[in-house]
């Protein structure tokens, strides 16, 4: 199996209005593949189609067109769901149950015997950082962050091979986020594929191997995160750091290089050039002015810049 998740030309239309029904395309011809064992970041602004995609994969909605498979099985295959987990956005559970009862109930749905259920339930509630004294409280008395932790725990009850997480950090405090980050990283170490949608870009940068960015239901960009950050036009720019020379000393000499920008630094200057072919000239000017080359590296845009660029077009 080459891909853990394979989405082909997936589209989803919603009908709006009461009398005059109007069709709105929430997802437009999405094609996407996720390799096994990686953490895949699914990005996009509000209403971009992230949750629609995940809901369609979870068979909560039926696609208007296209197909999708998880672990090589069509998404309509109920038995395939034995091998996957899902943590919905702002998870809602039976609030008359306690966390332990909910976990036991979900364990029962996977056919585990009482002893296994009990052990899994205790291990997972501990792993997501819920204190034992809270396990016997009804979920209606839980805070948003605590519900989020229960949501994560229940999504792992069956040791899934692929787990889908829709905004898994939502409602968590900084410590909680760090703990969940570690939990997700731990899943990758175990070989679990994680398909994660989030708005928190630092989490994506810290965790994800590959990402896809959605814009208005369409795929705007996808691929290896580091490669994406280097891909754009801006990323062909180079930054040359030189010591022992002042900005004023070389400003006039490099004026003829189109697009070059000089910025003073505490012990020298930083020169940014747009084209690699100008590098030799910059190095020569720096050397002739008595400067010492410290580093030359490509200018990497931040994920935030990439996100803004791809989501706003």
């Amino acid at each position: 199996m080459e891909y853990a998740v394979e989405i082909k030309n997936l589209s989803k239309d919603y009908e709006t209005g009461f009398w005059k029904k109007k069709r709105v395309r929430a997802l437009d011809d999405l094609t996407l593949n996720v390799r096994p064992g990686q953490i895949f970041g699914f990005l996009g602004g509000n209403g971009a189609g992230k949750t629609t995609t995940i809901k369609t994969l979870m068979r909560l909605q039926f696609p208007t067109a296209g197909t999708a498979t998880i672990l090589g099985h069509d998404i309509s295959d109920v038995q395939m769901h034995r091998r996957i987990g899902y943590c919905p956005e702002n998870p809602y559970f039976y609030d008359y149950l306690t966390a332990r009862e909910l976990m036991e109930y979900f364990g029962e749905l996977f056919g585990y015997d009482p002893t296994t259920r009990k052990k899994k339930c205790e291990d997972l509630l501990t792993a997501v950082g819920l204190q034992e004294k809270d396990w016997k409280r009804q979920l209606r008395k839980y805070s948003k962050g605590m519900l989020q932790r229960v949501g994560l725990a229940q999504s792992l009850i069956n040791d899934p091979e692929v787990v889908f997480m829709d905004e898994p950090m939502s409602g968590l405090d900084p410590v909680g986020r760090l703990e969940v980050r570690e939990l997700i990283a731990g899943l990758r170490d175990k070989g679990t594929t994680v398909f994660m949608s989030t708005h928190i870009l630092s989490d994506i940068e810290a965790l994800c191997d590959e990402v896809a960015i959605l814009r208005n239901g369409k795929l705007a960009a996808s691929g290896n995160l580091q490669e994406l950050l280097l891909q754009s036009e801006q990323n062909r720019a180079l930054e040359v750091n030189v010591q022992g020379v002042s900005a004023d000393a070389i400003r006039e000499q490099i004026e003829f290089i189109a697009g070059a920008v000089i910025s003073p630094k505490p012990s020298g200057v930083s020169i940014q050039i747009l084209d690699e072919s100008d590098l030799a000239a910059v190095l020569e000017i720096s050397r002739n002015s008595g400067g010492k080359l410290v580093s030359v590296h490509p200018v990497k845009q931040s994920l935030e810049e990439l996100f803004v660029k791809e989501t706003e077009g």
Partner: protein
């Protein structure tokens, strides 16, 4: 197996939502009847207790079947609890059948406890001879409630709870007078009217098949053929309604 787990949880939900609190009201009603009716209905205490008791079992049960039945599935969609359920290896059919059986178990417990209450009241007023007939009628009421529940769930699979409750109430009402529909049809002049009322007669459940309250109050016990026929009728009707519900629910998108 999954159906049983879902049914068990639906039962637990009904209990925790204090649905069974209606039993307290019922016990008070029956106790008061047993104590005070002797003074009001000279020599007819047992008959009145059976009449009042069984009518209450039916009305309390119908109330639960309609109002809990219509919100059973709707609440899961509104509260988005279905999201976590359908991400697990649960078919939509299993879910509907499980929820239905869960509410039927609640109703069964309800009618059993109420039946015991009426039995104790009967013993208190010296009407033990009527107990067999009473339990036959209780069984028929339970069968009727399973049909009402199936109707409520079916309506709620495509409509709002308020409208579903109203429609189910109409079915409950018309179902008790469906024999009159045939009489009405035959007394009509136009063929269209005859056709319409005959169609309604066959479409809606004939709930008078389960009516044995008056007979039970007169000391009669339902014959086995009546019980067997009503059982088969209820099971067939329930299966048809639940199949329709599953067919509708299986096509639903959860936004």
């Amino acid at each position: 197996m999954n159906v049983l787990s879902i049914a068990k949880n639906a039962f637990r939900e009904a209990v925790r939502d204090r649905i069974l609190y209606n039993l307290i009201l019922f016990v008070l009603l029956i106790t008061a009847s047993a104590i005070f009716l002797g003074e009001l209905t000279a020599g007819q205490e047992a008959r009145v207790i059976v009449n009042l008791g069984l009518s209450s079992v039916l009305l309390f049960g119908a109330f639960i079947a309609i109002f809990v039945g219509v919100s059973l599935v709707w609440k899961e969609i509104e509260k988005r609890t279905v999201y976590s359920i359908f991400a697990k290896p649960i078919g939509r059919g299993e879910f509907i059948v499980g929820k239905y059986l869960g509410l039927c178990s609640t109703l069964l417990l309800n009618v059993l406890v109420m039946g015991i209450g009426v039995t104790l009241a009967l013993v208190y007023v010296g009407g033990s001879a009527m107990i067999a007939g009473l339990w036959g009628a209780v069984f028929l009421i339970f069968l009727e409630l399973t049909v009402v529940t199936a109707v409520a769930i079916m309506f709620s699979s495509f409509s709002t709870p308020a409208l579903s409750a109203l429609l189910t109430f109409f079915v409950f009402l018309i179902g008790h007078f469906s024999a009159s529909l045939l009489d009405l049809a035959t007394s009509m002049g136009s063929k269209a009217a005859i056709g319409f009322f005959t169609f309604i007669y066959y479409l809606l459940p004939n709930l008078s098949n389960f009516s044995f309250i008056t007979n039970s109050a007169n000391g009669q016990s339902p014959p086995a053929a009546l019980l067997g026929g009503a059982f088969v009728y209820a099971v067939v009707y329930d299966i048809i309604l639940i199949t329709i519900t599953v067919a509708i629910f299986s096509r639903r998108n959860f936004k």
